[in-house]
Symmetry: C2
Amino acid sequence: MRQVAIAGIGKTPFGALAGRDLLSLAVEASRKCLENAQVAASRVEAFHLGNFAGPSFIGQNHLAPYVASGIGLQGVPATRFEAACASSGAAFFHAWAAVASGVYDLVLVTGVEKMTSQPTPKVAEILASAGDLDGEIRVGATFPALFAMIARRHMHQYGTTREHMAAVAVKNHANGALNPDAHLRKPITLEQAMAGKPVADPLTIYDCSLVSDGAAAVLLAPLEIARDMAPKPVRVLGLAQTSDHVALDRKDDITVFPAVRVAGEKAYRMAGVTPRDIEFAEIHDCFTIAEIVAIEDLGFVAKGEGGPYTAAGCTGLHSERPVNTSGGLKAKGHPVGATGVGQLCDVVLQIRGEAGERQVGRNRLGLAQNLGGSGATAVVTILGGE
Amino acid sequence: MRQVAIAGIGKTPFGALAGRDLLSLAVEASRKCLENAQVAASRVEAFHLGNFAGPSFIGQNHLAPYVASGIGLQGVPATRFEAACASSGAAFFHAWAAVASGVYDLVLVTGVEKMTSQPTPKVAEILASAGDLDGEIRVGATFPALFAMIARRHMHQYGTTREHMAAVAVKNHANGALNPDAHLRKPITLEQAMAGKPVADPLTIYDCSLVSDGAAAVLLAPLEIARDMAPKPVRVLGLAQTSDHVALDRKDDITVFPAVRVAGEKAYRMAGVTPRDIEFAEIHDCFTIAEIVAIEDLGFVAKGEGGPYTAAGCTGLHSERPVNTSGGLKAKGHPVGATGVGQLCDVVLQIRGEAGERQVGRNRLGLAQNLGGSGATAVVTILGGE
């Protein structure tokens, strides 16, 4: 296997982008990425598109050649990867494998979702299709309801509190306020977060990520080739994609994401590092409880300690282990298919030292964790500077 | 790159299968495949699911872990690949790359679609989402209309006739009648085909493929490992996936599928063979004209000769170059996401000598061609016996 690097990144702002369609978003992020790497479109050998539900959101399917043609890629394999909210994480994982194993040198991976043109009830219905339709959704569950059950059980088993979850929201809003590409740039207080409008008890509006439009792209290349390219290459040191049951009721313990745990273990082993070595991370906080569960399952803290650790400020921007310096899905936004690659762009910005006002000091080794559904897909990636 | 083989195949019947859901179809084909290869589910290292529009047809998204869990696969990367009607061709292409390059040994590739639970107008709308929504579909085009334009132009440029297209239908119906797993097992006469109810002039009901339910699966393994397994391994000698514009109006000449031409050239070069060497083929006859265009673009005949060649009987079951011995999409059926892998299963059956009443004599080297939309995706695969 060859060593692989991210040789270029590009993204659009995330937000409710009226007047922007899926194609223009995906093309903008992709072209910015090629420009960032100073690579002509004609050199790209394969195109991987991460997209969750374009056909449902905008009516257009067969999106990979549709976007590839818009970018100006010609004739290359153009394939859409779908793994719910981990769609572009999965697209990246398969691109890494193809470059590492020598199938291609340059692969462009773009994630995109256009969500805000649908009314909220329709958005909720489309998102719910990533759960188990017969067992969960048709009996009335939505994703906020599923994560509310996870939160309630976590509170019961470990003493996690609503304050712990609110602390995740406060931190991510504070970080998002420093990110010019974030959907929400509005700091909030703990009091505000605690007084949020209920969505699915115990989760309030401040515990839920945003419905956003946006796109993000990365260019993968063998490290040796990336070293001759314009930006400082960022190495893919470890990664894994794993799966689990879609339905929560098939799981022994809903306070654990086994797919995240296994993907993390595999990624650490591949990178030759331990959870302690990870200096900062982008975590899939589709709900505040998801960030708490994930930092436990990734071994940043012991099981049950995620809430107190966050409330103590240990994941803040200038703390021992910054989590979601971008603002996370909570404040940066969550255009589903763009989220996985968007996280990678944010880790790359930190490693390159280009994160502006939210730049962290210890920026050599970062991790991104992308989750599909209520844990049926996980992709964990560890990136490092040279 | 390692040599790769198909070590097992499995499929459900194709048809209007009332009472069968997507999950049960995908699980049946996958389990039959593992049983055929005599491999335990626990040995599978990755799961690739080809599916075009499950979320639109049945409301369930995040289908790869959903099906993987049903099969009994545990924790493996489970990813859905979408490339319109070439979805499972694309899933297969990426699985081949992963096995050839040593990322995995055993990858299960399953294609599935459940279409018949939706009323016909809804099916037409879902299929149309694989075309260009803004440029083609919203102004009234459907896939029969797009292929009718291709047919009309082919008739104009090359003198192709309705009889030539009807000859494709007659042949494929005759072959389908010999296939116990085919959707339609009803031979038709040229007179019947010529008198078919019009769909989009010049295409009649006999020029259009079927709306079907079904699933198909193949297990990929390195040749060295496949040799120790139960069935005779069938080697993947050459393959390629390519892309082109989604919208027909972006093309210089709509009587050509450039993606098929390029994929064919790449696959021939990789296999070290010429079009003349191909003994039989499964061709993507979503419409009769598509089979004519494809056998030209694959170099079986010169451009414009596909119609006369077919009408002369040269692609019949016991002719010089049997095409669609399974009955093709026209008679075997076209459960969109299952079609690409279904074609591969049929080529494997011929190479193994297990094709029953439709077995061909020259069965050493076969080709499968899978098309997405009106030509924006193509996957061409050449398989051979040892």
